[in-house]
């Protein structure tokens, strides 16, 4: 999937070169953060010892990925056609996570499903309401009542 011959003209940034450098950046960040923890000695390694080894390992692997990435797919060739939708889905889930303990499970889940089905998928209002409300009530009954999994309740007791 990621091996493609390089085009003859021009220098294009390759996907593996970018991802390799991102890994190196992550390794450097971990190394920087790890300074706060004692390294200990070889006979008594401290809490910073293994993260330090891992930062070196990640950095080396990142460099290898970047250096051997000359023939990988050009960065511009990666298709992001569904990216906008993916971001919208993630953002909606993020709002739901924020609301979960504030509005309670049932209201949050019903609202989330109404957003997905009504706004994003443009389904019929009756189906949106049935699935949204039905899902939140049925799963609440199943998990909170039958399986006794504690789920958050709204300040209004619902």
């Amino acid at each position: 999937m990621d091996r493609q011959p390089a085009p003859s003209g021009g220098r294009q940034l390759r996907s593996d070169q970018v991802s390799g450098l991102m890994l190196v950046a992550l390794a450097l960040y971990v190394w920087w953060m790890n300074r706060a923890y004692p390294m200990g000695s070889l006979s008594e390694p401290g809490p910073g010892y293994v993260p330090f080894l891992l930062a070196i390992f990640m950095g080396v692997m990142g460099l290898l990925v970047a250096l051997s990435g000359g023939k990988s797919m050009p960065l511009a060739a990666i298709q992001w056609t569904e990216a906008k939708r993916a971001i919208a889905l993630l953002a909606a889930c993020g709002v739901a996570a924020y609301a979960l303990e504030r509005l309670g499970y049932r209201i949050t889940m019903a609202a989330l499903l109404v957003f997905f089905l009504g706004v994003m998928e443009r389904r019929k209002p009756i189906m949106v309401a049935t699935v949204g409300i039905g899902f939140s009530l049925v799963t609440y009954y199943l998990f909170a009542m039958l399986l006794r999994v504690p789920l958050p309740v709204s300040p209004w007791g619902f």
Binding site: M61, C93, L100
Partner: protein, 508 residues
């Protein structure tokens, strides 16, 4: 042998209890559904069910989750054969010849052979588990920290070899997973590391939010715009019957797939996925008429389907005998057992014989349940696929949030899951394999503890790993695998190695 038989009888006395039987059935049913639905693999399915098992007896919990796992292996084949849509990654190879058979009007025999092959492989796998796990557990009693360190390192190196894609990318992902495992309180010193002053992160990052995010959420982000293609007519029970020739052609692939899948299952990595790819490659190679492959060869269904089921069973051996997960799925199952205060490992079989043998016996029962579910009830399962994906994926996302939140009643877990979903989406776009991340996360605490204990034992000398014979052999084997995996990179020859020939590049 007599002892094994007596233990198995003990197991059946547990597995045939009505309550255990019921949960085995429920697990298999949910697993079949999970295997059929795109976006919900066995891992996401098991993770979502995990909180519901906390209040159950540990035997029932493990029977339920194992049922979901091997049920998913069965279920994945149905959508692959009927609509060329693998419900989960292990069924990708079944699409090729299974769907070709459907187009020729032979969907029934393809579904039947997939179910029969899965049943045979699953049952043979349980026999292997029954015979091998106790022996391995006895051997593992000799293991100290250096041996465990070597075992875990060997696992990661073998994973790099088996994955088939870019070795540095696979190892970098394992390193990323290990780094995630460093978050939280250090067990030896009590230091809280990389927690960004978030109290919940002091306990570390759990496998469930990471696994659901990486595998479940990222899959939905990638596929939410797609819809499931139209379904063919449901095959009737009579149409399911394969011909005598088809039966004959399937015997060899089922036997080879079972053996191959079981052996690969013991090795770390996405064994059930890898085994189906390798099995397809092997069948194509041993066939006298390889040109039939891709055009409806029943061997192309029988081999991979048997292999992925046998691998699912084989993966339980290191989990039960060593307490070492070889895949994210077994890692979640270990978490499920540990919630009940039971630690999997060499002592499990002797200390918890009812749990181990009850689990083994329940797998025999589960395989029979799955055969019953997958043949006569195939029409019912297929009907569920008629629900448009635009209705399914929002419900799957909501289930993911519910499942992650319920594990420890923490919104932080939901945030971790969503972040991992985004990270997984981007990593997949850049061609990274995600299984090593989950595996690294699970192995990190074990690896760190055993490495530091080993160094303390040897007064800081790394020579301890080569002075002790068991760890030296394991590290040697791991290094050998690493050298083998580097060979295609160093060699200038255009000849493909066996992993590429088996189509393993497509796994990553």
């Amino acid at each position: 042998m007599v002892e094994t038989f007596n233990n198995l009888l003990l197991g059946f006395s547990v597995a045939l209890q009505p309550q255990v039987l019921m949960y085995a059935f429920v697990g298999c049913f949910i697993g079949t559904l999970v295997g059929m639905l795109p976006g919900v693999g066995p891992l996401a399915g098991i993770s979502m069910l995990l909180p519901a098992t906390f209040g159950l007896d540990p035997i029932i919990a493990i029977v339920l989750l194992a049922g979901v796992y091997y049920g998913a292996m069965y279920g994945g084949s149905t959508t692959s054969i009927l609509i060329r849509l693998p419900g989960e990654a292990a069924s990708v190879m079944t699409c090729i010849d299974g769907y070709a058979m459907t187009q020729q009007g032979r969907a029934g025999p393809a579904l039947a052979i997939a179910a029969i092959g899965s049943f045979v492989a699953g049952t043979l796998g349980v026999v292997g588990l029954m015979l091998l796990a106790p022996t391995l557990a006895t051997f593992a009693l000799r293991f100290g920290p250096p041996e465990y360190t070597a075992l875990l390192l060997m696992g990661l190196l073998v994973l790099a070899y088996m994955t088939g894609g870019s070795i540095p990318k696979t190892l970098a992902m394992a390193g990323f997973g290990l780094m995630l495992g460093m978050i939280g309180i250090d067990a030896m010193s009590g230091y809280t590391r990389f927690s960004f002053e978030v109290v919940e992160l002091s306990d570390g990052i759990g496998i469930v939010p990471v696994a659901v995010g990486l595998f479940g959420i990222s899959e939905i982000l990638l596929t939410a715009t797609q819809d499931i293609p139209s379904l063919p007519k449901n095959p009737s029970l009579r149409e399911l019957m394969p011909s005598r020739t088809e039966f004959k052609q399937s015997i060899g692939p089922i036997a080879r797939g079972s053996a191959l899948g079981f052996l690969i299952g013991i090795i770390p990595g996405s064994a059930h996925i890898i085994s189906s790819f390798i099995s397809y490659g092997v069948e194509r190679r041993v066939s006298k008429t390889p040109e039939r492959f891709g055009h409806g060869a029943i061997e192309g269904v029988a081999g991979p389907e048997s292999a992925n089921n046998a691998a699912a069973t084989g993966a339980f051996i290191p989990m039960m005998a060593l307490g070492v997960p070889t895949s994210p799925v077994t890692a979640v199952m270990i978490a499920a057992i540990m919630v009940h205060g039971i630690s999997p490992g060499p002592m499990l079989i002797t200390e918890q014989p009812k749990l181990f043998w009850g689990f083994v016996a329940s797998m025999y029962v589960g395989n029979v349940v799955l055969l019953i579910l997958n043949l006569p009830l195939v029409g019912l399962f297929v009907s569920l696929l008629r629900i448009p994906y635009s209705y399914l994926y929002p419900c799957i996302l909501a289930f993911c949030i519910l499942g992650c939140y319920s594990v420890s009643n923490s919104v932080v877990d939901v945030w971790i899951m969503l972040s991992m979903g985004g990270v997984g989406y981007a990593l997949r776009k850049f061609g990274f394999d995600l299984a090593p991340v989950a595996l690294g996360l699970v192995l990190a605490p074990m690896l760190e503890l055993s490495l530091r204990q080993s160094l303390a034992m040897s007064a800081g000398s790394y020579a301890i790993f080569i002075e002790r014979p068991i760890s030296a052999v394991m590290l040697g084997f791991g290094m050998l695998m690493l050298l083998f995996s580097l060979k295609p990179l160093l060699s200038k020859s255009n000849k493909k190695d066996w992993r590429s020939s088996a189509g393993l590049d497509e796994v990553s």
